[in-house]
């Protein structure tokens, strides 16, 4: 199999908004609303009925924390999101660079048994 690895040297952090009611979310609209607010790239990476995780690129965590209340108000404008009394926002630190040697030389998927042993799911 022909296979290549590519490294993306992008800075990002993960922003999570929990305590929501989510149904019929328009992710494209949500990303657009947040990108206009934060002036940077935002991608929705995980959604459940109660919370949303997003990658936010080229931004400092405190810039998000300072604007937490405003960001929650902003996302309530997106189709499919209802903010509740327990809605809260959290964000990770920016990702840290690792040595390229830590990136697997074999496909991450591997065979089913090998994956199960390494990553029980």
């Amino acid at each position: 199999m022909d296979q290549e690895y590519i490294i993306a040297h992008a800075d990002k952090l993960v922003m999570k908004i929990s305590g929501l009611r989510v149904k019929g979310l328009n992710t494209k609209q949500l990303e657009q609303i947040l990108m206009e607010k934060l002036h940077t790239l935002v991608r929705v990476i995980g959604v459940t009925g109660e919370d949303i995780e997003m990658d936010v690129y080229d931004i400092e965590p405190d810039q998000i924390q300072r604007n937490a209340r405003g960001l929650i108000e902003t996302i309530s404008l997106a189709e499919g999101i209802t903010v509740t009394e327990v809605t809260k926002l959290s964000c990770s630190e920016k990702i840290l660079e690792v040595d390229f040697d830590q990136i697997p030389k074999q496909p991450i998927s591997g065979c089913a048994r090998e994956r199960w042993i390494r990553h029980p799911c």
């Binding site: 290549e4 590519i6 490294i7 993306a8 989510v22 328009n26 992710t27 499919g80 990136i103 496909p107």
Partner: protein, 177 residues
Amino acid sequence: MLNTAYIIPTGDEIRNGVVQDLDAPEIIGQIVRVYPKAEVTRLCPLYDDEDAIYNKIREIALQKKPDLIVLIGGSGGGHRFSSTLGKDYTHSVLEQCLDQRCSREIYGKNGHLWCKLVCGKKGSTLIINVPGPYQEAKAAMEAFLKALTKEAGIEDICNAMAEAVYAQYPAGAAKTL
């Protein structure tokens, strides 16, 4: 020429209606703009279940024998890197079931798999996956169709799709390992 295509969205959140499926309409629109005579079928979204995805691909490829199958979503590292993220299986399924295949893996500098694109064949059917985020799916599909109309092979198609997805990140120069 592309006459028949099946679009298969994946993801519990898509199937449950928590998130709108914006990718499939975009992909269908792109295909019929380039191939106006194409018959494109969008299947019911699949849960993030490796066996279910595997069985559906085999069923469609072997019984319907379309020219193209597009799997949407499940292209990242997902649960393998974060316990809060969904289970990403489309790339691992394609590695198991394709007769010929080619892949490109995009990693973040944190060592996490951000996206794995696989392109290959099962019998006469060309099968690809695209990432779930709308902008990345749109870019990957545009690159795919552009390469296909030039009659590119699976390696060139995979390269074109990977470059298009990579260009969606605000990253510096790519480093190929």
